[in-house]
C-alpha cells in the first residue's frame, strides 16, 4: 500500500514536482556514470597490467620450460616491445597469450599494427629487423589496441638468449628461465594502478557529496507532503518507508540511466591515450559484480541521504512548519581538519600506497566536515557587514543553512583541493627536447667495441646510410649527420638490428622516451581528474541552485509580488554562492597544495601553475554559469501572481 501511494505521489507531483524528480534522476545518472568511470579506471589499469604480465618473466624455482627476455625497439618515433622466447630442450611450453603455438627458433610473430607498418614501410626500414614472420598476434597478447609488439623465437643457446642486457640504455628484461609464460604485472604497471587509485579517491569523494546534494533536491518538497501525511496519522515507519521508496525508485532509474550513459561513453573514453595508446573497450567495462555493486550502492546512498533529510518530519509532524534559529556548527569540525592536516606529513611518511590513499580521503572528508562551519562563519561576517538587501539576504541565508550553501560550493572547493594537490605534483625534467643530429648508440660486449664498431660501419654503408661510427668507451656511437630524417634513422636501426644480440641501438630521445611518457600520462591523468571534478562541481552547483529556487519558490514569489526586483533576488543568490566560493575555493587550493608537499618532485612548475589558474577560472565561470542557467526558473516561479503553499 505504501509503495502504491508513493508511486501516486511521485507521478502526481505536478510540473515542478516532476522537474525536481527529473533533476534528481539526471543528477544521479551523472553521478553514477562518473562513479563507474572512477571505478572502471582502476579495473582498466588492472586489466592492462594483467595483459602485459606475460612479458614480465618470473624466474622459475624449478621445472623451467623456456627462456624469456624482452627489450624495446623503435620505429618512426614509436616503441616496439620485442619478446624473445626459446623453448628449453625437450620441453613443449604453453604458448603465450595471443599465439596459436610456441614460436620455433627463427620464427617471428608481429602484432597487427606492427605487421601493417612492416608492409607499409620499405623493408630496409622495418621488415628486415623481423625476418621469418609466421603470423599475427591476437589481441590477448597486447596491452592496448594498435600496440607494436614482436615475438621472436630463438634456440635456447642463441646469443640473443644468453647475452646479458642489464647495462642497456633502455630498461630491458634479461633472459630468464621460466616455468610458464604467466609472468607477473610489471612495476610500471603497478605504479600506474597506484596512481589510478589515488585519482579515483580524488574523484569519488566529490561524487559522494554530489550524490547527497541530488538526494536532497526534492527533500523539502517531500518534507511538506510527508509532514501532512504524519498529521493525518502516518507512523514514522511508514513515512520513512515512503521516503526511501520514492528516493530509491528515482535513484535506481538514475543509476540505470547513468550506467547506459557510461556504456555509451566507453568508445570515447577508450580513446584517451595512456602509456602510449588507447584502450580496449572491454577493459573499461567494470566486472558485472562491480556494476551490480554500484547499481545497488547508489540508490541505497541516495535513500539514506533522503532519510537523513527527513529526520525532522519523523520527529514531529510540525517539524517542517517551524523554522527556528539553527544551532551553530561545532568548531570541532575545523579541529578535525586541523588534526588531519597536522598528521598528514606523518601519515604520508610511510611508502604504503593504501596509507597515502587513506590520508588523502581523510583530508578530503575533513574539508567536507569543516566546510559548513566556515560557510556559516562567512555568512555571519557577510550579514554583519551588509549594507544593501542582496548581501543581507545572502549572508542570513548562509547562516541559516550553511550545509546547503556548502553543497553549492563544495564541488569547486574539493576540485580546488585536487587542483592544488596535482598542481604541485606535475613532474618536470623530462620535457627537454633533444637537439642536434641523431646518434644511435649500442653497448658492445666487453672487449669487442672495436669489432662491433667496424661491423656497424660496414652494415650502415651496405644499407646506404651515411654515418660516422666511432667507439666511445664500451659504446659504439653512429652519428647520422644533420640531413638524417625519420626514414634514414629507421634504415640505420634496421641495419644495426641484432648487431649486439639482445640489444637495441637507441638515440638520446629513445632513452628519455619513458620519462616523457610518464610525464604525458600524469598530465593526461590530471586533466581527466580535473575534468571529472569540474563536471561534478558545475553540475552540483546547478542542481543546488535549482533546488534552492524550488524549495523557496513561495517566499521568492511573495517578495516579487511585494515589489522586490528580480535583480535583487538574483544578486542575493549570486552573492550567496560567490562569497563562500571565493573563500572556500582559495582555502581548498591551499590545503591541497599543503597535502602535496610531501610528494613534491622539484619546485612548482609552469604547467602546474597554469593548471591551477585554469581551474580557478573554469570553476568560477562554471558555477556562475550554472547558477545563471536557473534564472529563467526563478523568473518562472516568481511570475505566479498568487503563490500558494503546496
Amino acid at each position: 500500500m505504501n509503495l502504491d501511494l508513493t508511486w501516486r505521489l511521485l507521478k502526481g507531483g505536478g510540473r515542478r514536482g516532476l522537474l525536481g524528480t527529473w533533476l534528481t534522476l539526471g543528477a544521479v545518472a551523472v553521478a553514477t556514470a562518473l562513479l563507474l568511470f572512477a571505478v572502471a579506471a582502476n579495473s582498466a589499469f588492472q586489466a592492462r597490467a594483467e595483459r602485459g604480465a606475460w612479458r614480465n618473466p618470473v624466474p622459475a624455482a624449478s621445472g623451467a620450460v623456456a627462456v624469456e627476455a624482452s627489450r624495446y625497439d623503435f620505429v618512426r618515433d614509436r616503441t616496439i616491445t620485442v619478446v624473445d622466447l626459446a623453448a628449453l630442450p625437450g620441453r613443449t611450453p604453453e604458448p603465450p597469450p595471443g599465439l596459436p603455438r610456441f614460436p620455433a627458433p627463427g620464427e617471428t610473430w608481429l602484432s597487427p599494427a606492427l605487421a601493417e607498418l612492416a608492409e607499409e614501410l620499405p623493408a630496409g626500414e622495418l621488415a628486415e629487423r623481423y625476418p621469418g614472420r609466421k603470423g599475427v598476434l591476437g589481441d590477448e597478447a597486447l596491452v592496448f589496441p594498435g600496440e607494436l609488439v614482436a615475438v621472436v623465437g630463438h634456440a635456447p643457446d642463441s646469443p640473443a638468449m644468453t647475452a646479458q642486457r642489464t647495462d642497456d640504455w633502455v630498461v630491458a628484461k634479461p633472459p630468464v628461465k621460466v616455468a610458464s609464460l604467466a609472468g607477473q604485472p610489471s612495476e610500471d604497471a603497478e605504479a600506474y594502478q597506484v596512481l589510478s587509485l589515488i585519482a579515483s579517491v580524488l574523484m569519488v569523494v566529490p561524487l559522494l557529496v554530489f550524490g547527497g546534494a541530488a538526494a536532497r533536491l526534492t527533500v523539502a518538497r517531500r518534507d511538506q507532503r510527508l509532514a501532512a501525511l504524519r498529521l493525518v496519522g502516518a507512523t514514522p515507519g511508514q513515512v520513512v518507508a515512503m521516503t526511501v521508496a520514492e528516493a530509491v525508485i528515482v535513484a535506481l532509474a538514475g543509476a540505470l540511466a547513468g550506467a547506459v550513459v557510461f556504456a555509451l561513453a566507453v568508445p570515447l573514453l577508450a580513446g584517451i591515450e595512456m602509456q602510449g595508446g588507447p584502450w580496449f573497450a572491454g577493459d573499461l567495462f567494470p566486472s558485472p559484480l562491480v556494476l551490480a555493486a554500484v547499481l545497488v550502492a547508489v540508490p541505497l546512498l541516495v535513500g539514506l541521504s533522503a532519510v537523513a533529510g527527513l529526520r525532522r518530519v519523523v520527529v514531529s509532524p510540525l517539524g517542517v512548519a517551524k523554522r527556528e534559529t539553527p544551532p551553530g556548527m561545532r568548531f570541532v569540525r575545523v579541529l578535525a581538519l586541523l588534526a588531519v592536516l597536522a598528521a598528514f606529513p606523518l601519515l604520508t611518511r610511510g611508502t604504503s600506497v593504501s596509507i597515502i590513499a587513506v590520508a588523502l580521503a581523510l583530508a578530503f572528508l575533513c574539508i567536507n566536515l569543516a566546510g559548513p562551519w566556515v560557510v556559516g562563519m562567512i555568512g555571519r561576517i557577510t550579514a554583519a557587514s551588509a549594507r544593501g538587501p542582496a548581501r543581507l539576504l545572502a549572508g542570513r541565508r548562509l547562516v541559516d543553512d550553511p550545509r546547503a550553501a556548502w553543497r553549492t560550493v563544495s564541488g569547486v572547493a574539493l576540485t580546488g583541493f585536487v587542483a592544488g594537490f596535482l598542481g604541485l605534483l606535475s613532474p618536470t625534467g623530462f620535457g627537454d627536447e633533444v637537439t642536434g643530429p641523431p646518434q644511435l648508440r649500442v653497448t658492445a660486449p666487453a672487449g669487442q667495441v672495436t669489432e662491433v664498431a667496424a661491423q656497424a660501419r660496414e652494415r650502415l654503408r651496405a644499407s646506404g646510410v651515411q654515418a660516422t661510427v666511432k667507439p666511445v668507451k664500451n659504446v659504439v656511437v653512429a652519428a647520422l649527420g644533420s640531413a638524417a630524417d625519420d626514414a634514414t634513422l629507421d634504415r640505420a636501426r634496421t641495419a644495426l638490428a641484432e648487431l649486439v644480440p639482445g640489444r637495441t641501438p637507441t638515440t638520446q630521445r629513445d632513452d628519455r622516451r619513458f620519462g616523457i611518457q610518464i610525464l604525458a600520462d600524469v598530465r593526461v591523468g590530471t586533466i581527466v581528474v580535473l575534468s571529472v571534478s569540474f563536471l561534478v562541481a558545475i553540475a552540483s552547483s546547478g542542481i543546488t541552485a535549482t533546488s534552492s529556487i524550488l524549495d523557496r519558490r513561495q517566499t521568492y514569489g511573495l517578495l516579487r509580488l511585494a515589489g522586490t526586483p528580480l535583480e535583487v533576488l538574483d544578486r542575493a543568490r549570486r552573492t550567496e554562492t560567490l562569497v563562500p566560493l571565493t573563500v572556500m575555493g582559495g582555502g581548498a587550493i591551499l590545503v591541497g597544495a599543503f597535502c602535496a608537499v610531501p610528494f613534491m618532485i622539484g619546485g612548482m612548475n609552469v604547467v602546474g601553475t597554469v593548471t591551477l589558474v585554469a581551474c580557478v577560472v573554469v570553476g568560477f565561470a562554471g558555477v556562475i554559469g550554472a547558477g545563471a542557467l536557473s534564472r529563467p526558473l526563478l523568473r518562472s516561479v516568481t511570475a505566479d501572481p498568487a503563490p500558494r503553499p503546496d
Partner: protein, 227 residues
C-alpha cells in the same frame, strides 16, 4: 475625502473563464474596504489588478489620479514597493531574517541605508505589541505575532494603500480579531487606505464598508466612480 485608488470597468479572463467582467471600484483616502465573495468569485483577481500585480485585459486603474495599469512591469514593481503594502495569509516573512530585518527589508530595497532602515523598523514593534521580539526569527514567533510583523512590514514604507489577502486565514478567531484591530488601526493612523479580501464577515466587520463580488461582478454599484 478624495479617491486614492480607482478601478474602472476592470475585465480579466483566464482562457474561457471570466474572472472580472467590468468591475468599478473606488477607495477613498484612509478608508478600509472589505472585498467579500465566495471562492472563485474573482475577489483575489480584483485585488491583483488593483495592486498592479496583474494587468487587466480591459479597464483602467488609477492611483492618486495617475493611471498605473499601463505601466511596465519594472515601474509597477517599484510602485508596489513604495506606494503599496501587502499582508498575506502566510509565508510572506523570510524565515532566515530576524523580525526587525524582515520589517526593514522594504526600506532597504528602496535605498535606505541598513542602520537607518533597522532603526525605523524597530519603531513599529512596540505599537504593534511586538516589544522585545525584534531579534526573533519568524519560526520563533506565534502565528499572530508573525502577522503583526507582516503588518509592520506593510506599513513601514508609509504606503498609500495596504492590500490584505485573507490576513487572518491562518489564525484562530481571537487572534484573528486582534490582528484585524491592529491592522485597521495602524493603517488609519498612517492615513493609508486598506483593501481586505476575505470571506469571513467578522473580518469584514472591521472595515468601513464591504463590497461583494459574484462571478466577476460587484453586487453593489460603487458610488462616485464615474464622477
Amino acid at each position: 475625502m478624495n479617491d486614492v485608488l480607482v478601478g474602472r470597468a476592470l475585465a480579466k479572463r483566464f482562457g474561457q473563464t471570466v474572472a472580472l467582467g467590468g468591475v468599478d471600484i473606488a477607495v477613498r483616502s484612509g478608508e478600509a474596504v472589505a472585498i467579500m465573495g465566495p471562492s472563485g468569485s474573482g475577489k483575489s483577481t480584483l485585488l491583483h489588478c488593483l495592486a498592479g500585480i496583474m494587468k487587466p485585459d480591459g479597464g483602467e486603474v488609477h492611483l492618486l489620479g495617475q493611471r498605473i495599469d499601463t505601466l511596465g512591469e519594472r515601474k509597477r514593481s517599484a510602485l508596489r514597493r513604495s506606494r503599496f503594502g501587502f499582508v498575506f495569509q502566510f509565508g510572506q516573512l523570510l524565515p532566515e531574517l530576524p523580525a526587525e530585518e524582515n520589517v526593514a527589508l522594504p526600506l532597504m530595497l528602496g535605498g535606505v541605508p541598513r542602520a537607518q532602515a533597522v532603526r525605523q523598523a524597530r519603531e513599529w514593534f512596540a505599537p504593534l505589541g511586538l516589544h522585545s521580539l525584534e531579534a526573533r526569527r519568524p519560526g520563533e514567533l506565534s502565528g499572530g505575532q508573525a502577522q503583526r510583523v507582516a503588518i509592520a512590514r506593510a506599513l513601514v514604507t508609509r504606503p498609500a494603500v495596504v492590500f490584505a489577502d485573507e490576513p487572518t486565514g491562518a489564525l484562530d478567531q481571537q487572534t484573528g480579531q486582534e490582528t484585524m484591530r491592529l491592522l485597521v488601526e495602524a493603517t488609519k493612523h498612517n492615513d493609508a487606505s486598506l483593501i481586505v479580501v476575505t470571506h469571513d464577515p467578522n473580518v469584514a466587520a472591521w472595515c468601513d464598508r464591504t463590497v461583494e463580488v459574484r462571478d466577476g461582478r460587484l453586487l453593489t454599484r460603487e458610488p462616485g466612480v464615474y464622477a
